[in-house]
Amino acid sequence: MPLVLLGITAVSFAVVHLAPGDPAAVAVQMNPRITPEAVEKLRAYYGLDQPLWKQYLIWLDKLVHLDFGESFAPDHRPVWDKIAERLPITIGINLLAMLLIFVLGVPIGVAAAARPQGWLDRATTVLVFVGFAMPSFWLALLLMQWLGVHLKLLPISGLHALGAASMPAWERAVDLARHLVMPVLVAAVGGVAGISRFMRTGMLEALAADYTRTMRAFGAPEWRVRYVYALKNALLPIITILGLSVPGLIGGSVIVEQVFSIPGMGLLFYQAVLMRDYPVVMGITVIGAVLTLVGNLLADLAYAWADPRVRKGLAA
């Protein structure tokens, strides 16, 4: 894990620095009359005149202290401040999306496994394939078109309505919730398809397992066999898979936040990429990877907590 962390920082650094076009070059583009001396000064100011390995070590040392440097944007604010104020929005939306994935995906999978090849199973199979193939930004546009523009049911951009600051607290909460419906739905679609598929397979495997036959032989009622014992066993791997879905969700927030103009980390990243704001791009790339690691770690811990075999050190 520490090795992976170090690898993450090295890759993020390499990605940004091996590419041509540093901010000094951008400054030249913006103002062709800039003198060569001024360019050199600019490069020295940003530390771009140092050898690459030295730049990396300096950056790494600062990173450990949560110092991601200053943004190249005109505001020159510390990168960490910029990320920190937007991180809760992105994490919040993705947690809600994960909740939705779990709440929708698990019952769909269980229902599909109840009668394999039945009409419900076939219908959900089709839905799963469509969910996998659905471009999230297209779904976002369709929802905006129908629920937003056509039916005027939901707001199509941002997190707050105009003048939300002067609303009473509960009205503000309702307003926020209304703004979140479409983004969370869009973020969750692919995951719902995936989890329901895994859940279906897991249930079928659990129902075919020896312990299920034993339960039935002991005369346990069928509902108990299915919805207590088989369900519990099928739910275990879902924990791991939810953990593995973190990078996809975080990466997807670029698209979701861009489409719905939500001021989260994804939108900040997108804007930083367009402006070649190196420190912000590097900072968010590292944070994104760290969030992934944290997600996997939490999934491992949750798995160990939920599975008595792991808890007692009996499983390999």
Binding site: L3, V4, G7, I8, V11, S12, V15, V16, A19, P20, G21, F129, V130, F132, A133, M134, P135, S136, F137, W138, L141, L142, M144, Q145, V149, T201, L204, E205, P247, G248, I250, G251, G252, V254, I255, Q258, F269, Y270, V273, L274, R276, V281, M282, I284, T285, G288, A289, T292, L293, N296
Partner: protein
């Protein structure tokens, strides 16, 4: 043929893929108009007999752009996946066969790459390299070889202990020959499945990048940038966003169905 009869969903997938490939190849003959021909007198027309899928804000024919867009999507999908396989297969082969430190190094690298939200990595590289269709292909490939490497490694690990490999080794075959002639071909089935599913993924990523304006650049039509251009007219020109999205959905669906069908066919024991 028996494959198609036993797997109707895969057959549908194969049909869709064949159709899209055909459309891409025959684009110049199928497209009713030049995809980039601007017509100031035919701006934002709804679907009609002259323009079956309508026209966009510059009066360009949506159907023609959609047809040429198939070329872009498939080209990016196949080349990017080609890059991923060209990287992932040898790495997985080396990791599985040599084991030890080689294995540890390659798999740690894969772990590192897998812990990045891939869209972040792709966007960062592309923005700094200038967005273009070639950069998109290479970068998608560079960030999606890990799955292939893991898969090939797992296959090799199980093959390594088989009798025919032991026999070949006992006969003093060279390492390269063993890997190229005996190991890799036996991993071809799962590799094929991963390739087909990989193309589906790459098509989705390309459309997303182009939608963000960081993929295929206008005026070259791609389904993603058509959606981005149509976004601004969403309130009154539904055809600009509906058809390109549908094209992506159907193409990716076809590739996924084909890939899953191939998997079932190659490994009938696997439960789904």
């Amino acid at each position: 043929m028996s494959f198609l009869r036993a797997h109707p969903l895969a057959a549908i997938g194969a049909l869709i893929v064949a159709l899209v490939v055909l459309v891409a190849i025959l684009a110049p003959w199928l497209a009713p108009y030049d995809p980039n021909a601007i017509d100031a007198k035919a701006v934002l027309l709804p679907p009609s007999q002259a323009h079956p899928l309508g026209t966009d804000a510059l009066g360009r024919d949506v159907l023609s752009r959609l047809i040429y867009g198939a070329r872009v999507s498939l080209l990016v999908g196949f080349v990017a996946t080609g890059v991923a396989v060209a990287l992932g297969a040898p790495l997985g082969l080396a990791a599985g066969y040599f084991g030890g430190r080689v294995d540890a190094a390659i798999m740690r690298l894969a772990d590192v790459m897998l812990s990045f939200p891939s869209l972040f990595l792709i966007l960062a590289v592309i923005a700094f390299l200038e967005p273009s269709i070639w950069n998109v292909m290479i970068v998608i490939g560079l960030t999606s070889w890990m799955g292939v490497a893991r898969l090939v490694r797992a296959e090799i690990l199980s093959l390594k202990a088989r009798e025919f490999v032991l026999a070949a080794e006992a006969l003093g075959i060279s390492t390269w020959r063993l890997m190229a002639v005996h190991l890799l071909p036996n991993a071809a089935g799962p590799l094929l499945v991963a390739t087909v599913l990989g193309v589906a993924g790459a098509v989705l990523v390309e459309s997303g990048l182009s939608f963000l304006g960081l993929g295929v650049q206008p005026p070259t039509p791609s389904w993603g940038n058509m959606l981005a251009e149509g976004k601004d007219y969403i309130a009154f020109a539904w055809w600009l966003t509906s058809f390109p999205g549908l094209a992506i959905l159907i193409t990716v669906l076809g590739l996924n169905l084909l890939g899953e069908g191939l998997r079932d066919w190659l490994d009938p024991k696997a439960k789904r």
